[in-house]
Amino acid sequence: MTTILIAVGILLVLSLIFGAILGFANVRFHVEGDPIVAQIDAILPQTQCGQCGHPGCRPYAEAIANGEAINHCPPGGQATIQALADLLDVEAIPLDGDHGEETAKRVAVIREDECIGCTKCIQACPVDAILGAAKQMHTVIADECTGCDLCIDPCPVDCIDMVEIGVTTKTWSWDKPVGPMSRPGNLIASDRQPLMEASH
């Protein structure tokens, strides 16, 4: 009996000591992190498009912090979902198609000769990427445009197009190799089949 008591006692003392050490370490080496909402917000693409159902990225960040699913942001796509999953330590799930599909990077372009200068698009643009004045031709500052589509609908004469940003020699890069069993060659990635059973 006494042995058991002694053993229990020793364990108790040990746990107290370790608890104290851990507590001390926590206080001593505490890392001041950003509040979680800010961290989530930093991952979101800041397109401010509202496709997630929130009026901007920050509100969605808040919603995620409160438990909303992390797969509602089409512009961010799978990369953002992955980053969110890593941050929040949850599983990365595929993008929720109800909120839209992930598209290639795009910018808005106004067909300037058709613009009637109604300024509706300016009011819609969340990042002030459109320049113009009433009754004057409007134009999009391509560098500032996040490709959020929000200016498309308000335009009464449908003169805004979303144009994909093509690849130039400056932005081009090698694809990721397909991985084992593939033979690098001049095939484009999509029709490169791994040499399955057929190999030799």
Partner: protein
């Protein structure tokens, strides 16, 4: 072979098959001029050059055809005399196989030089002059990425330089261009080095050369001895090992120093220059010839006569391949650069550029397709080979699993992409491609973060501004309430049919009392400022007359300042007291039009809303679908009616203004305004048609039969709209005609142009319809046959329209 200086070692490295003898059998070749020279505007690192010439210009050999565009950019010169036949996108030498903007020169085979302005007395010029001159001669580093030479050399003006290293190592297999250059142009090269040394004043000048170039070493030693330079310029013979010619590795070999990660050699007092660059510097400074040609190795098993050639920049590669007797059936891999770091080309039309040191035309046997990738067995052979002392297998692991942070931690960005690891990997893993992918993914992510942060800032700034505006409005509203309660009331009581006028009046009335004082003060300030300005200007004129320079300057700045102040004051004033809007609403018709427009917009919006609601209802199959649908038609009707009345109102407005206007000038003004309005109307009507069409399509898509569609009245509306547009367009044409008449009474109206325009519209319309129909066909395969018929009809219409258009165009041209 004796080496003048101690040679150190670098980690790793490999000994691939040399394959250098093939291209050294024949002397330096001189291919004849090709049919055209293609000069990409981006042959160097940094911004593209800006073209100075236009299509059709005649240029002389050596003439500048493009100038630098910012700090890291370069000049470009015509490699031969001829005509600029185009400036367009062409396939360029780039691993992506993409095209880029190029200047195309059609040689006239005369090779007439432009006037050359060499700098034979460079010793007596200032360094800055020589550097500027080098920039204008388009000199860039010819060994690597094409870094503008003068930018590199400028670094030496700031730092003390320990070593000037001339890179003649040429460690890549197959390439012998530098070897050949040293043999052929030994004295030019040495003089080029002298010029460089004059510019940078390094404590040591060392030529680093691999021990497999015995002949070149001997010639160099002789030349240095003859010129009595062997004390100043040392030759370091380094053992043959790839990649000893890499800048960082050569530095380590010759000085035992390492370039700190993320820094440049200049930061540790070293500058590296390629031998090609040295000889180009000589050509430029002493002979006055800009960089328009270079020595390039043509080699590979697919060539019958592998050799080195002196070739004009812009020569298409195919031309050179044919010159060297290329067996195209053998050619399987075309590489620009060497087999270790070069990149493959798919298009043989791509041109030689300033950095092309080799064209390797490999046969399938010589450069077999790589084995399929196997799993990494972590054998560590890559690690033993890596000259940067990295852990390639770890980098592979992390880039493969997209753990880029870890990859960065394992120094991914210190990888020089030399390919030694891939070369030795027993599992045939394309390691370098993984690293390239990883690097660009990281860079992209960084850019995206920067962009998203930026977007966030702008978004937040906008939000803040909007809030401030709202607050301001609120404040104004509060301020207005007290002094002008009547106005407020008037606003409420104002008769609805004259809202606009009332509003404008109200706004003016309301703002006046609030702003009166501020605007008064501003006006006074402005008056004072203007008076001061006048005085200053007088003084300035006086000073100018008597040419009192100092005073003039002083006064000038003051005048400028004063101007600014006035501008500011004026701005403020406009803000405080916006110019009265009442004048604008002079035409009662216009007010009516505006009102109508608003109504039309509202009606349209309600149509839109209804449509949305219907769509939603359809999605969930809600029972209120029918009601909604029944609401839709009257809504559309109302919208259309409104638009019609809008149109007639505008017509009336136009008419009334027509009748009231008497003077020609006024008339034209009015006409212009009308044109604009009409255009807007047409655009709106067009949009309405589009929407109506969409509705019809949607209905069709829903499977409603034509009868139902007819019943809905949409097609009729559509027709009406179309008629409407035609009317409007007619009007527009008339107006334009009057307009041009009033403006330029002598100019004749061109009915043809109108017709052409119409015809064009018809063609475009037909096309659009066809594409719509095709889309529909995809959606409703069961109605394919029907739609096909329709499409054919439309296509026929299009063809007729097009032929007519062509005829019209013909006639126009004849006229």
């Amino acid at each position: 072979m004796p080496s003048d200086v101690t040679v150190f070692e670098f980690h790793g490295g490999i000994h691939p098959e040399q394959n250098k003898t093939q291209s050294l059998q024949l002397p330096l070749g001189n291919p004849k001029l090709p049919d055209e020279l293609v000069l990409p505007l981006g042959q160097h690192i940094g911004q593209m050059s800006r073209p100075l010439v236009k299509v059709g210009d005649r240029v002389l050999k050596g003439q500048t055809i493009a100038i630098n565009n910012g700090f890291l950019s370069s000049f470009l010169h015509a490699p031969t005399s001829g005509r600029i036949s185009a400036i367009e996108e062409r396939a360029i030498a780039h691993p992506s196989g993409l095209s880029d903007l190029c200047i195309i020169i059609e040689p006239d085979n005369k090779e007439t030089w432009c006037e050359l302005r060499p700098m034979p007395l460079w010793q007596e010029s200032t360094k800055t002059d020589v550097l500027t001159y080098l920039a204008e001669m388009g000199i860039v580093g010819m060994g690597g990425a094409g870094f503008p030479t003068q930018v590199k050399l400028q670094g030496a003006q700031k730092n003390d330089l320990d070593y000037l290293i001339i890179n003649a190592a040429e460690c890549e297999p197959y390439i012998t261009a530098d070897d050949m250059l040293i043999r052929e142009k030994t004295s030019h090269l040495v003089q080029g080095i002298q010029i460089l040394q004059f510019l940078v004043e390094a404590n040591n000048v060392i030529i680093g050369i691999e021990d497999n170039k015995e002949k070149a070493i001997e010639l160099l030693q002789n030349e240095l001895r003859v010129r009595q330079l062997d004390k100043q310029i040392k030759i370091a013979v380094v053992p043959t090992k790839y990649p000893s010619g890499g800048e960082k590795q050569l530095i380590q070999l010759l000085t035992d120093r390492e370039v700190p990660s993320g820094k440049h050699p200049i930061d540790i007092g070293i500058i590296c220059q390629n031998v090609g660059t040295c000889s180009a510097i000589y050509d430029a400074v002493v002979l006055g010839q800009p960089l328009i040609s270079r020595i390039t190795t043509l080699t590979g098993a697919a060539l019958e006569h592998p050799q080195n050639v002196e070739v004009l920049l812009g020569t298409p590669i195919e031309h050179l391949l044919n010159y060297a007797g290329c067996d195209h059936s053998q050619l399987q891999r075309l590489i620009m650069g060497g087999p270790m770091m070069g990149f493959t080309l798919e298009n043989q039309q791509a041109p030689i550029i300033k950095t092309t040191n080799c064209i390797l035309a490999g046969s399938a046997k010589e450069l077999p397709q790589p084995e399929p990738e196997q799993a990494c067995i972590r054998c560590g052979m890559c690690e033993q080979a890596c000259p940067a002392s990295l852990l390639p297998q770890q980098l592979l692991w992390f880039t493969k699993s997209q753990e880029f942070e870890k990859a960065e931690h394992y120094n991914l960005f210190d990888c020089i992409e030399c390919g030694a690891c891939s070369y030795v990997c027993p599992s045939s893993i394309p390691l370098v491609q993984y690293y390239r992918h990883g690097k660009s993914a990281i860079r992209e992510a960084r850019d995206a973060t920067i962009k998203s942060d930026h977007a966030k800032l702008r978004f937040e700034a906008r939000k803040a501004r909007q809030e401030a505006e709202a607050a301001e409005k609120e404040a104004k509203r509060l301020a207005r309430k007290k002094p002008a309660p009547k106005a407020d009331k008037a606003k409420v009581d104002a008769p609805t049919n004259d809202v606009t006028t009332a509003k404008a009046d109200n706004a003016n009335k309301a703002e006046k009392p609030a702003n009166n004082e501020a605007s008064k003060k501003l006006k006074i300030d402005l008056a004072i400022a203007k008076a001061k300005m006048k005085k200053l200007e007088k003084a300035l004129t006086a000073a100018q007359e008597e040419t009192r320079t100092e005073e003039i300057n002083q006064l000038q700045t003051e005048v400028n300042e004063q101007k600014n102040t006035i501008q500011q004051l004026e701005d403020e004033l406009t803000k405080v007291a916006p110019p009265a809007k009442v004048t604008k609403v002079a035409n009662p018709n216009e007010a009516g039009v505006k009102q109508l427009k608003i109504d039309a917009a509202i009606a349209k919006a309600s149509v839109k809303k209804l449509e949305k609601a219907i769509k939603k209802a359809e999605d969930i199959n809600a029972p209120e679908l029918e009601t909604l649908k029944s609401q839709l038609t009257p809504a559309i009707l109302r919208a259309n009616e409104l638009e019609k009345s809008l149109a007639s109102a505008q017509e009336a407005a136009a008419k009334s203004s027509d009748s009231t206007a008497t003077q020609a000038e006024e008339l034209s003004e009015q006409a212009k305004a009308d044109t604009k309005k009409l255009k807007i109307d047409i655009a709106i009507a067009n949009a309405a048609i589009k929407k109506a069409k969409k509705n019809i399509d949607a209905m069709k898509a829903e499977g409603q039969d034509d009868a139902a569609i007819d019943a809905s009245g949409l097609p009729q509306k559509l027709a009406e709209h179309e008629a409407n547009i035609t009317g409007l367009q007619q009007k527009l044409t008339d107006l334009t005609a009057t307009d041009s008449k009033t403006e330029k009474p002598s100019a004749e109206v061109n009915p043809l142009a109108d017709k052409i325009k119409k015809q064009k519209i018809a063609v475009a319309l037909a096309k659009a319809q066809i594409s719509k129909l095709t889309k529909r066909m995809e959606k409703e395969p069961e109605k394919a046959a029907e739609i096909q018929l329709e499409i054919e009809a439309k296509q026929a219409a299009q063809t007729t329209a097009e032929t007519e258009l062509a005829q019209l165009l013909n006639t126009q041209e004849k006229n």
